[in-house]
Amino acid sequence: MNCFDPATLNSPNISLPLLILGGLFLLALITYIFRSWEWLTTSVAAVITGWLALWLWNLDLSAAPIQLSLLNRVIAPTGCLERLGFMLQVHPAAIPVLATSMALACIAFVLTIRISQGHSFVPFTLILLAGYALLAMLVSGPVAAPLITPLLLVGLSSIGIYILQAGRATRSDGPLRSLIPAVLTFPLFLIASWYADRLALSPRDPELMNIVSLLLTVGIIVLLAPVPLHSAMADVAETAPPIVTMLLTLLYQLALLHLIYRVLTAYPFIPRTIPLEFGLTIAGVLTAAWGGIAAAGAEHPGRLWGYAALHDWGLLIMLLGIPGNTNWQIVLFLFALRAISMLTAAIGLSAIEHASRTFDSEWLQGIGKRMPWNSAAFLIGGLGLAGFPLSAGFTGHWVGLMTVASNDWRIAAVVMVASAGVVIGFIRMARTLYGPLIQTRLLNENPVGALLAFVGILISASLALSPQLLTGPIESALLALSR
């Protein structure tokens, strides 16, 4: 493999991983220096990440190297970067993950232009983006690539603390708890890697296979943070800036889905030796059920959103546990709809948070009369996470529930009841938002904010009516992953 040697910087070839990582780190450094000019840094970061997302999505790895006439260098798309025992390469399976991560970051940056999420948001997000890109491009490391990922996730979660807290003098439970799953699991993966090395010497050893399967199954389930390890999601949604919450949650979960896919591909014996499906189903049911129950009682908009996201995540965990090859298509479909719903809700919630002075109940009451579009975006996005009809998540939930019901209808019934809990929570929230206005000093919503909310609602509605719009991208992503 023609790996890039850092010692030969005069080489005309630049590997793509070096370009991506180096570019993101450089951009992070520059934006950190100019972090007080938030409008400028977010705009620049949005443009660059958006361009990267589009370019990566359309990248043809078999194409000829790209000439950079400005730098007098040639970019080798398939070139790899080897450093400190890690080998990075843009392989086909990494492209959808990279492009999705960049697109999510781009959208978050665009939204941040209007409503600040903290001065450090842009530079820290770019560093996180580089970290997640590293995970996606990791071909091999000191131990097998999927098994070192949880350790790297600890580092990324630690960096994420700063933008989740965002200098706010609020409770720190959410950022703190977001650390726990990754920290708890990385030793399990390291021990598993040791056993996996032994397994390579005696591939038929059932005891070794059992141990590896057990360690990885427990590790994956803990990383997925189902109930009772779920509290970070709701706490983060309550206290952290909504756009940051949306972005970090989705980036982490995307990396996690990629990790699970790689683990199950690298160690296909796991489902055969350990009842992984049973464990995931139980964890998913508990998570979806608790998300629904807690959402029905949640009064804080952020927390309600967090519990709705938890409910949706529970369904996704359940789908991961369903055997068969088609379930990954459903998982990706549900994740895409989840991203759209969370994004729509985050658009509305960030505007509401800004106007209601961090969800002060007095300011929140009747805010929908002054901010109808943003309130609607929050409600529609939240309801999408519950699979409410005519919301983005409806088709995903419907397909997911049908798949679950084909195995056990009782589980599907539990999820349906839990979804009703989420819907009840949002109906209560709608009554608050569109109820009598208390703070008459509240200004009408900004036209740009209303436009963004409208776009979010429009995308949600479009996907609710024409979910087949996602079929093409999902099939491409699945094809790329399977290569």
Binding site: L84, G85, P142, V143, I148, L151, L152, V154, G155, S158, I159, I161, Y162, Q165, G167, R168, A169, T170, R171, S172, D173, P175, L176, L179, I180, V183, L184, F186, P187, L190, I191, S193, W194, Y195, T239, S356, R357, T358, F359, D360, S361, E362, W363, T440, R441
Partner: protein, 463 residues
């Protein structure tokens, strides 16, 4: 440093391991930040000594690990030093509960033979492997217990680092050449940095208030307030003079059902620039006119008086401890109409003397102090007859004077401090300036009072 390990070879012996395990348990039992941080280093040292005993690991690697943990504890300790003394808001239960938890876990481990074994390289002797297994499992359990008992960044950070200690040693043993050890070290430092950042932000959001056991308020209420980050204790405001207005029965009736004002965003870091809204204007001409026509306006003034009195009483209820009458002797001297002494039931013992205000109140502490200058001091001296409270004319009561001076703003103001965004900073400052002298005069008493308050708030070992 290598010789240091050899001189502390004791840690690798059976007694040394038991001692290290006891230190880990003591960290939970004592629940003190100093004990936790020192204990963390001791545990890391013990783990390094045990790993070195196997002879499968280089001393330099263990030295680096000890140094990393020492650096992590230093990072956490610096943050603790930066933060004001505060109890941990995420209570860990008392020491008896923690002791019972430890006993329960230990008994469970003894009773149920889990027969759990960790993988070790073949070169390690079985006895060493068994010893390390027991040691690592106990440390991991202590880490999980700490994690389960705490929600504060400090103890969670300590727990996560404690969890990393055996993982680090173990990874070095299992994967010696992989460089994973370096990565774990970096991750430990990142965890410590993250937790230290959260310690600092936590200290911004939460101020302590002692829970007085003898208080009539049930302590749970105090604890609830402690856990509510939006509440900031009034203890910070002890130097301020609360407007000393009597608590009449009518006013108390008006207070019924009055909730804590929530006009400000929760948890926002505030600055003086928040004071930008339109303030209640003082119309001095109107006040003079009103004084001249005082007798004519007696009846309407009384109504206005009640309204303003209820406002001020509400503010008083929100801001001042009910027992502050003892520390503010002027309160009794200013009693108009229905003096407190004459009607002792007005000193309602059921009123919560630990009143809190929202931390998000747009008033900064400085401005709040200025705003809390005794309003009586700003009134003409003839209205404040401290020597003869009984001769105080109801028509010249403080609320009446306020009624004359304060013109209602355009927007309804449910509470003076609840709508503190309306306060004019300039007006507050202009009112505050002439008060410097009177404040200095009271310095002795205030200082004494503050000292007493400080002693009360001097808390807890657990933070």
């Amino acid at each position: 440093m290598t010789s240091l390990f050899s001189s502390f070879n004791f840690f690798a012996s059976g007694t040394g391991i038991i001692l290290t395990c006891a230190v880990a348990a003591a960290m939970i039992l004592l629940w003190d930040w100093r004990a936790s941080l020192i204990g963390l280093i001791v545990v890391q040292f013990g783990a390094a000594a045990v790993a070195l005993q196997t002879g499968q690991i280089e001393a330099q690697l263990m030295i680096v690990q000890v140094c990393i943990i020492a650096l992590c504890t230093l990072i956490l300790a610096i943050s603790i030093a930066q933060a004001p003394r505060s109890p941990t808001i995420s209570q860990s239960g008392n020491w008896i509960m923690r002791l019972l938890m430890l006993i329960l876990v230990y008994t469970a481990l003894r009773l149920f033979d889990f027969n759990f074994s960790l993988p070790f390289p073949n070169a390690i002797e079985a006895s060493d492997a068994l010893r390390m297994t027991v040691f690592f499992i106990w440390i991991s359990i202590c880490a999980l217990l700490t994690l389960g008992l705490s929600n504060s960044p400090l103890f969670t950070g300590v727990a996560l680092l404690l969890w990393c200690v055996p993982a680090h040693v173990f990874a070095t043993l299992l994967l010696p050449e992989s460089g994973v050890s370096v990565l774990i070290g970096i991750v430990e430092l990142l965890i410590a940095l993250g937790c230290s950042y959260l310690i600092l932000t936590e200290s911004l959001s939460i101020k302590q208030r002692p829970i007085v056991s003898t208080d009539i308020t049930f302590p749970v209420e105090g604890r609830r307030m402690l856990t509510d980050s939006s509440m900031v204790p009034i203890g910070e405001m002890t130097t301020m003079d609360i407007p000393t207005v009597p608590l009449t029965a009518e006013a108390r009736q008006a207070m019924t059902g009055v909730t804590l004002p929530q006009t400000a965003p929760r948890g926002t870091i505030l600055s003086d620039t928040n004071l930008t809204d339109k303030p209640p204007r003082i119309n001095r001409a109107q006040a003079a006119q009103s004084r001249a026509a005082q007798s004519r306006a007696a009846q309407s003034g009384a109504k206005q008086s009640q309204k303003n009195q209820s406002q001020i009483n509400q503010m008083q209820a929100n801001l001042s401890p009910s027992d502050s009458s003892q520390s503010h002797p002027r309160r009794e001297t200013l009693t108009p109409g229905t003096p407190t002494q004459a009607n002792p039931t007005q000193a309602d013992p059921t009123q919560n003397n630990q009143k809190w205000v929202r931390s998000g109140s747009p008033l900064t502490r400085t401005n709040l102090k200025a705003a809390q200058k005794p309003l009586t001091d700003s009134l003409p001296s003839r209205q404040v007859d401290q020597s003869s409270p009984d001769q105080y004319s109801p028509n010249q009561s403080l609320p009446n004077q306020l009624a004359e001076e304060v013109q209602e703003p355009t927007q309804p103001t449910p509470n003076l401090f609840g709508t503190s965004t309306h306060l004019d900073k300039d007006y507050i400052n202009s009112k505050a300036e002439p008060q410097q002298k009177s404040k200095k005069e009271k310095t002795g008493l205030s200082r004494l009072f503050n000292r007493r308050q400080k002693d009360e708030t001097d808390l807890p070992k657990d933070r």
